[in-house]
Assembly symmetry: C2
Homo-oligomer: 332 residues x 2
Amino acid sequence: MTNTKYDVVGIGNAIVDIIARCDEAFLSNHGMEKGFMQLIDSSQANELYADMGPATEQSGGSVANTCAGIASFGGNCGFIGRVAVDQFGKVFAHDIRAIGVAFDTPASDVGLPTARCLVLVTDDGERTMNTFLGASTELVPGDIDSDLIGSAKVTYLEGYLFDRPEAKAAFHKAAKISRAAGRKVALSLSDAFCVDRHREDFLALVRGGVDILFANETEITSLYEMNNFDDAAGVVRAEAEIAVLTRSEAGSVIISGNDTIEVPAEPVEKVVDATGAGDLYAAGFLYGLTSGKPLETCGRLGALAASEIIGHIGARPEVNLKTFAKSNGLLG
Amino acid sequence: MTNTKYDVVGIGNAIVDIIARCDEAFLSNHGMEKGFMQLIDSSQANELYADMGPATEQSGGSVANTCAGIASFGGNCGFIGRVAVDQFGKVFAHDIRAIGVAFDTPASDVGLPTARCLVLVTDDGERTMNTFLGASTELVPGDIDSDLIGSAKVTYLEGYLFDRPEAKAAFHKAAKISRAAGRKVALSLSDAFCVDRHREDFLALVRGGVDILFANETEITSLYEMNNFDDAAGVVRAEAEIAVLTRSEAGSVIISGNDTIEVPAEPVEKVVDATGAGDLYAAGFLYGLTSGKPLETCGRLGALAASEIIGHIGARPEVNLKTFAKSNGLLG
C-alpha cells in the first residue's frame, strides 16, 4: 500500500443550511415529520422559506460536516461535492477550506443554484430538514478524483447521494477505486426515509462493499425492517466489518466481529440544536480510527464532538475539536 | 397631523454579516482597528474573506438591525435600503420581512452585489467590521417613499449613508419630508471614523434637522472634538432636542433640555459578540418613545435589548423582545 496523503476523503451533498426556530404547530401545518429530512423542489423551497422566521446561514451537508469535524480534530481531509457559481457556493467553499479541508470540485456554472437546506429547530432542540439539492445533483462520476480517493485511508460516502442516479454512480465509482487501492469505505445511512427509498442498494453495499457503517437507531431498524434495536444490531454484526450505531442520549454501540463496545453520550446542559450530531459523531470516530486509536476511544471522540455541536445553532464546530478533546483528556 | 401608520421608518445600508472568530493577531496582521468599521472594496473583501475562518451569515446593517428590534418589540416599522438580485439579497429581504418589518425597496438588478460586512469577533466579544457596500451604494433619492416617511412617527437615519453622495441626498430628502409632515427625525452617528469623515455635515444636522441623536462615547467626543465625555454631553444638551449617549458597560445617558437620565447597563453573563449592541439599544429606545413611554423606560428597554444581542453571535434578536421585556417587568 502506498503512502496515504489523506486520512479521510468525503463525498456528499454540498449544502448551505438556512436555520430558523419554529414551534411544533409550524411543522404540522407544513406537513413535516419532526426530526427527519425531506427533499423539496425549488418552488417548495421558496414557499417554505417565505413562511419561515428570520434565519441564520451556515455551511452544512452531512458528510461535509463530518469532514469539517475531522479537520478540526487535526485530521487530513478532502471533500468532493458540487456547488454552483453563486454566493452560497462561495460560502460553502470558503467554510470548508477555512477549517482545513481540501475542496477542489469545480463549481457548476450552468443550471441549478447551490443546494440549501431549510432547517427548522423546535424548542426541544430537534431539527427538521427540507433540502433543495440544486447543484448538488450535478455531481457526476467524472468529479471523482481517483488519485484523491486512492490516497485516502477512508473514503466516506453519504447515503443521501443515492437520491440521484448520477450521484449514485459517482458513489459506486469512488467505492471501487478505494477498494482497489486497499483502502476502507465508510457509509452513512443518512436518514430513515433515505434507507426506505434505497434499502436494497444499501443492503447490497453493507454485505459487499462497505467496511464501516454509520447508522442511528431508526436507520438500522429501517434497514433490516425490524422493530427492535438489538435484533437489528445482531444482524448487522454478521454483515459489516465495523458498525457504529448511535442512539442519541442513550449513547452509541460499536459492533465489530465478536466485540460490542458501548459508549455513553457526553452529558450536555441543553440541546440547543441537534443538527449535525450524527455527522460530528462520525467525525470523532473516523479521526480516531485513522489515527490508530482503539474503537472505544474512537467512540468517545465521536460522543465528545457530538456534544459540542448540539450545544449551539448550526452543524459546524464552534471550537477547535483537537483542543476540546485534549481538555477533556481524550487526546494526548 | 394625520394618523401614523408606522412607528418608525429606518433608512440605511442593507447588509448581510459574515461573522467569524479570530484572535488579536489576526486584526493587527490585517491592519484593523479593533471595535471599528472600515469600508473595503470588492477585491479587499475577497482577500480578507479568503483569510478568515469558517463563518456564519446573518442579516445585518445598523439601522436595519434597529428596525428588526423594534418589530420584535411589537412596533410597526418599515425599512428602506438597497439589495441586489442575488442570494444575499434574498436573505436580507427574507429576514427583515420575517421579523415583521415592511421592506419594499426594489432589488437592484444591475451592477454590484448585495452589501456584506466581514465581522471579526475576538475572544473578548468585541467586533471589528469590514464593509463592502455593494448594492447599498445604489440607494438614491428616488427610493425614498414620501408616503411611507410621512406616515411614520420617527424617521431613523444611518450616519453611514453619508459615505455616498447619492445616499446622503436620499437621507436629506427623507429628513425634509419627515419634518414637513410634522414628524421626528432620528440620527445614529454610526461610528467614530464615520463622524470624522462627515463632522461638518453631522454638526449641521444636529443643530438644525435632527430631533433625536444616538451616539456612543467615542462618536460624541469625536463629533465635538473633545477628549471628555462630560464636556461633549454638555455641548450636545444645547444643540439636540434629545441626545441618547451609550457607554457600553457604563450604561447610557439621556439628555433632554434640563433633564439628565442615567440608565445602568443590563448585567450580562458573558459578552459573546458585541455586534449590534448600539443598534438594539436604539430599537428599545425608539420603541419606547413611539409607544409614549417616559424617557427612563425608553432607556431601560434599550439596555435590555442590547443585553440580549451581546449574549449571542449576530446582531438580530434570538428571542421575541416584547416577551423578553415583559418577563423583565418592563412592559405590561
